[in-house]
Symmetry: C2
Subunit: 642 residues, 2 copies
């Protein structure tokens, strides 16, 4: 992909971007403030800039006069960059502000695309569920093997070495007619596991080109399903939705409590199956894929979610010593769970390590290749729970900390999932307290997703609108900081510019929840390092997984003390690692083996009874941390901005 240089005046800031990048996003990445309050919808008309040199492709010119257009004015949010550019930000777009010549941290560029799951690209296409086209020699008196023996023989000739080849009973029912009508040219759908093959379907002729799997990340808050083409590992479509169980409790503990009520477990299972069925329908409707060509659903999720999916009581997961019924699963018939797929479809829940260290993390670790690298890596999955893994090819140690759903938008007044209209990037001008926001798909703002919350919290802190305890400075002369219904709050978007017509705010209560969430994660990192006597500087790669949307800004996450203060080039944002891992397993037996290997090798450290963890947690409830020495780059920024 072509790269272009963009220089913003009068700040004289330069940035290199991909062809087609949004001009407003480029400005944000270059740390150039441009007012923008509609999220990129082109409706607020505030992000007016002048292109002095080079060309952009403008999607529209809303609110610009024909004279302004002649003068080179564009709305940054509606422009795609098509060459090297020189761009001037006029004073009205900056609210008259001239930035201080301060030494800000260098532009990190670590705005990562999601799903940089290295292993998924590297693994050989070799799905655990396969369609194999077989051209079999018709039987004769001298070669009178049974139909199943003939197919088994064909499968062995196709390279399957498994001793055990079994046939699902419904396959047998019409097999004799089917193979003869097809003149012994048939496609067998086979599921593999570590000890054998199961033939789940037979079809006439060669249907091997039409074969799909579904990868599911079964999150406590959000369920994401991806339709994967088994010809080429590609994603055909991806859909996400809230887990229907949210109505029964926001976190895993409240779900466990709900499950213990009369009928509760059945209801929870029913709700999550409903969510999955809705997503499947969406995938099928969008792609026109035939459901009968979906053979397998690979589900990553935490241990509690997988128990509820299978209708297994999670009761003892909550009681010391926290034991799940099962942690390593086998193929389960989709119909037995109530999933709307043909009878021949199976579900493969990925393996878990412990009650609070689930298949979501295992999948992510396998997908990143951490477990196959010499380098010491830290893996942080920030979901409703925060899970942290430290290690490499020789060992893996993990822990889990109850972060709460704040970063997924739960427990935050205007929090939301990373879908269209979610505010995903935020800058706040320290002098004017005015925000610059970008939403997913440039839609009118609806709420704030994980990355937007991190940005907002960091910017409020760096702009000194909140203090280290997360409390607002109510002496500031801006209408954006005010007393709301639930105490002090900051207005990110005024009602007239939001989709909901209501102000979008971040409250002190929201900030408290975010602080607790980040403190739990940071304390977890701390204790894991401590347990194996490794220091932060020994870590060579830090993988961040979580449903933050497409952009997670590492510096902002460091600024709030969620991530440790390390050089930003060490950070790799992989987005939904759980889904990436499920996708990898769906297309590769090698990937499936790796997931199993990771689950088997990972040591789990239980923090629930660990007094050091509680100490670390309390210390981390400040911005960025009680011990400021842990965050030298953040403290330097604050010092510079004084």
């Amino acid at each position: 992909m072509k790269k272009f240089k963009v220089t913003f005046y009068p700040d004289n800031r330069k940035i290199e971007v991909d062809q087609g990048e949004n001009l407003l996003r480029a400005a944000l990445a270059a740390e150039v403030h441009v007012n923008a309050s509609c999220g990129g919808d082109g409706t607020c008309g505030k992000c007016r800039v002048v292109v002095d040199k080079g060309s952009v492709r403008a999607k529209g010119y809303a609110k610009l006069s024909s004279e302004e257009k002649k003068e080179g004015y564009v709305l940054a949010c509606l422009c795609q960059i098509e060459s090297d550019l020189e761009v001037r930000v006029p004073p009205e777009s900056r609210l008259g502000r001239v930035p201080k010549e301060r030494e800000r941290a260098k532009v990190c560029g670590h705005i990562f695309p999601a799903d940089a799951t290295e292993r998924l690209r590297l693994v050989r296409l070799d799905p655990p569920a396969k369609k194999i086209f077989l051209v079999l020699p018709p039987p004769t008196l001298d070669d009178s093997a049974s139909d199943t023996q003939r197919i088994s023989r064909g499968l062995r000739a196709a390279g399957f070495r498994e001793e055990r080849i079994e046939f699902d009973p419904p396959v047998l029912k019409y097999l004799a007619n089917l193979v003869r009508e097809a003149a012994f040219k048939v496609t067998a759908t086979v599921l593999t596991d570590d000890t054998g093959l199961k033939v789940t379907k037979t079809e006439k002729g060669d249907t091997s080109g039409n074969h799909y799997a579904v990868a599911v990340d079964l999150g406590t808050t959000t369920v994401v399903a991806r339709l994967v083409d088994l010809k080429n590992k590609e994603t055909l479509s991806e859909k996400s939705d809230y887990n229907g169980q949210v109505s029964c409790g926001e976190d895993v503990i409240s779900r466990i409590v709900f499950a213990s009520k009369e009928g509760g477990l059945d209801k929870l299972q029913h709700l999550v199956i409903q969510t999955i069925n809705r997503l499947l329908k969406g995938l099928i409707d969008e792609t026109g894929a035939d459901a009968k060509n979906i053979s397998a659903v690979f589900v990553a999720g935490n241990t509690i979610m997988l128990h509820l999916l299978l209708g297994l009581s999670p009761k003892y997961i909550r009681e010391e010593p926290y034991i799940p019924t099962v942690s390593v699963f086998r193929w389960i018939e989709a119909r037995d769970l109530g999933i709307d797929l043909p009878d021949s479809a199976y579900v493969d829940p990925l393996p878990c390590v412990a009650s609070y260290l689930g298949a979501d993390v295992v999948a992510g670790i396998a997908a990143t290749g951490v477990s196959r690298k010499k380098e010491l890596a830290l893996y942080i999955d920030i979901g409703t729970n925060g899970e942290i893994v430290l290690g490499g090819e020789d060992w893996l140690i993990s822990c889990s900390c109850s972060a709460g759903p704040a970063f997924e938008g739960g427990g935050v007044k205007h929090g939301m999932r990373a879908t269209a209209g979610a505010i995903e990037q935020v800058r706040i001008d320290a002098e004017t307290c005015e925000p610059m926001i970008l939403t997913i798909e440039g839609k009118k703002p609806v709420g704030i997703c994980g990355s937007g919350l991190i940005d907002t919290l960091a910017e409020l802190f760096l702009s000194r609108i909140i203090d280290r305890r997360g409390k607002f400075d109510l002496t500031l002369s801006t209408p954006r900081v005010r007393k709301g219904e639930n105490g002090a709050e900051y207005v990110l978007v005024w009602g007239q510019e939001s989709k909901t017509k209501k102000d979008i705010v971040l409250t002190e209560v929201d900030i408290d929840n975010l602080l607790r969430a980040k403190a739990a994660v940071f304390a977890g990192i701390d204790i894991l390092l401590d347990s194996v006597a490794v220091s932060l500087k020994d870590i060579e790669e830090i993988y961040i997984a979580g449903a933050f949307g497409k952009y997670l800004e590492v510096e902002k996450a460091i600024a709030i003390g969620l991530l440790p203060d390390l050089p930003c080039e060490k950070f790799i944002f992989i987005g939904n690692g759980s889904l990436g891992g499920a996708h990898m397993v769906a297309v590769s037996r090698e990937g499936k083996d790796e997931v199993k290997r990771v689950a088997r090798r990972m040591t789990y450290l239980d923090l629930s009874m660990n007094p050091k963890f509680m100490d670390g947690y309390v210390s981390a409830l400040f911005l960025p941390h009680t011990n400021a020495e842990l965050f030298p780059s953040v403290m330097a920024q604050i010092a510079n901005s004084k």
Copy 2:
């Protein structure tokens, strides 16, 4: 068991018998003719003998005067032998006949008890379905394996080496509560196969002492089920009944035709499942065994019967090149077939070789140990089909010949299964044409079972009541030979002495059917020997399997040309070999492995297109055979009796 010598006068014939043997049966075995027409019921009063020395236990003295009793008269059929005896058969009980001093074949003694299945006694008790009592260490924070991992670990500690241990989904459902209520002392029911273990049930505490399997011989005509105690390999009860499918056709071909009709296949499956369910109920009712302790049902049967059991179309089994859908099966859930057992029970159909060489024969071969012996053996299973196997530990070759159901009582006017009241042994006095009959359990005669038919046919032939073509000599001056509704016939039992109050006869039509059946079997033996260039004298053991009842007299079977004319000590009658094999598999993994090995190694010779077979068949339609030189001992007997 004590043995006693019995000498019969005036013939001066001696025989050694077990303590408690029936006196009439001893006379028959000693070739002493005593009139007997009620089958051993004590009602005809004809088998009056005088005990001159020794003691008998008499069950009654019906029709004997007190004076006769004082003189030592007893009814032989009502007496058990309790010491060495001297017995006098008075003239009136012999109809005045003094036997000729002819050289009859020596008393063979080959009246074999059924189920002399050597391997069943030899195999180590090690059932494929096991209950294992596990005392597991309760979990702790340091040992936080999941419940299934804990059980798996326990199973491995108990000696299971299988890599794959899987849990049936319903087991998982309540597992967490169950193991805790049981303080981690639980009994796991596991099914093994060649590549792994499946846990099908868990129970609190130690229930391993109560565990049963069912062995089933699924015959075309008769279904036999045996409840086996898995503590000790013992039979707790055995029940048999006609296969409910008989109403849809007597032989496998007519069943296949029926299956091809609209709804026919479903009906056939339903009927046989009904039969099995009825037998299971009988076994449970009789023994008081709890159905929930029945984990597995092992079914031997021919290939067509196993297809119908599973609801698989047998259509192509009938069309050249005669291919079954499946010949090697796997565990199938009993409930999926409609079998009235708990959800945790499974069915294991034994493996077949080819469309017309089924698991019934494979099971029998494995049960006899033929496949593990150096000696060359011939195995003959005379059911609705006749199956013949030749070989030993190095090779096995087999064929099948459509014998028809005559020896199971089908296609014979008064034929019946070997149940109470069936005439199972017959002698006919050559001079008077009067019969001496014994029925199963000494009940009033109802009909004639397989061994009785063989005896009757042989005796009619040896007494020259029929000729070598099976046609009656209507010139004989006896009311027993007469023209009946369907041509000439012999009256075995007069109506006043039968249970049905009707005459029990054997007709010329019946004899034709018996001749066809025996000719098919003999031609099969002939062609099998020919195919591997082995002659009869090379055969060291001949195993006879079939539902003949408890007594099959080899000399009679030789006399009619059903079995080859070899020394009778080479013959071993194993009764229901199919059931014996299923029983062996039920109690022994070694037995199961052997059955699989036999199925894999056996070569099948298709006779349907073999012109030599048709020639051999036609030659064998005579008594004993067109080529009399093949039966020297039979010809000698006839010569002597002239």
